[in-house]
Symmetry: C2
Subunit: 193 residues, 2 copies
Amino acid sequence: MDLYSEFRKYIRQIIPLSDSELAQLQEILQFKHIQKREHLVEMNQICDKVVFFMNGYFRFYHFNNEGIEITSDFYFAPGFVTSYTSLITGNISKVNVQAMDEMQLLVLYKHDLEDLYQKSHAIEHLGRVIAEQVAITSEKHLFSLLFQSAEERYQNLLSQNPEFVKSIPLQYIASYLGISPETLSRVRRKIIG
Amino acid sequence: MDLYSEFRKYIRQIIPLSDSELAQLQEILQFKHIQKREHLVEMNQICDKVVFFMNGYFRFYHFNNEGIEITSDFYFAPGFVTSYTSLITGNISKVNVQAMDEMQLLVLYKHDLEDLYQKSHAIEHLGRVIAEQVAITSEKHLFSLLFQSAEERYQNLLSQNPEFVKSIPLQYIASYLGISPETLSRVRRKIIG
DNA sequence: CGTTTTTCTTGATTTATATCAAGAGTTATG
DNA sequence: CATAACTCTTGATATAAATCAAGAAAAACG
């Protein structure tokens, strides 16, 4: 199945769209290729697009005040990815968004998407549902940092997002959990026994 | 100005709504009174409403595995408040939502709101904008926990949300910043000099 | 494949922050 | 307004996790 078919299938799983609305959405898509380790969004630049992808995953990261790289998020296929806050506010992105595999992308530009939101109630609805998912995911990560210990956070990740632990280098997982790679290594040894 | 007028004014600041749409929205509002320290949402119960409030603030909190109360969020007037994840997913709320002042509330029930979303594109748009704001706010808090030290987080809060530090007991601020009250006290002494 | 590069683990030490304990302010209340 | 009930601060000590350092394991590459 090609990328466009996958896209339609994915959208239809979220909300029912008429053929005409789906066609409208598909009309604004732009095809793009991205290399492994290439950046979809660079820190300190404004992000004006959302992309759809069918394989691999993206990593979000940031350099803190000591110049240390901190990973804040992962987005797995299939789905949409963007530097959400930058897209919505129009301010510069605080994070780099990096493709962790070679991928085919379908790009939706903000300008075109906003036009569609105005034209179509159903597509506006899609936008709301996606915004709600982003909010929920972010809150989950926030709560794990605020409410749980390093070990609980890792256990929680294992049960909630096993694909993270399977596919992502542990140094990035550690950073996402707000701990050092050494601490994660010790937590894992303790758990596995 | 009464609560309903404030409500209309607040909505109009976010998006332009016709008189008829505003009337539709106002029709589903239910008036409610809440006492200081009373809970709008109880942990482990499903939240099926959003409320609008004009004074005071709400505190979100949770009990961690050791039974310690952790504050995760504050919502200041004027605005909407709800246990967002519970409202969207229909699952039980992980947090208590507590009124920190005596307040007058305008309640919107999920069921009524969803009807309106379907009927009115403009109100669906309002829902998207609010979801986006929730996502952005949550990401900001998440980033501060992941990227910054205790001291940086407090400095950041002082500049970004000075009203928090002015109105909220320090023990709750400390918890929101992911640190103990004693550590916050020491950070403050160091900063003020 | 064998070599280089990256990733992960382990131990020793340091550090930031938590915890414990007690007293000083501050706010609420009979 | 006096007493009680919180809230905040300060010091002493404990602890979880970071950092430093080096080697082992795994992955990438010519």
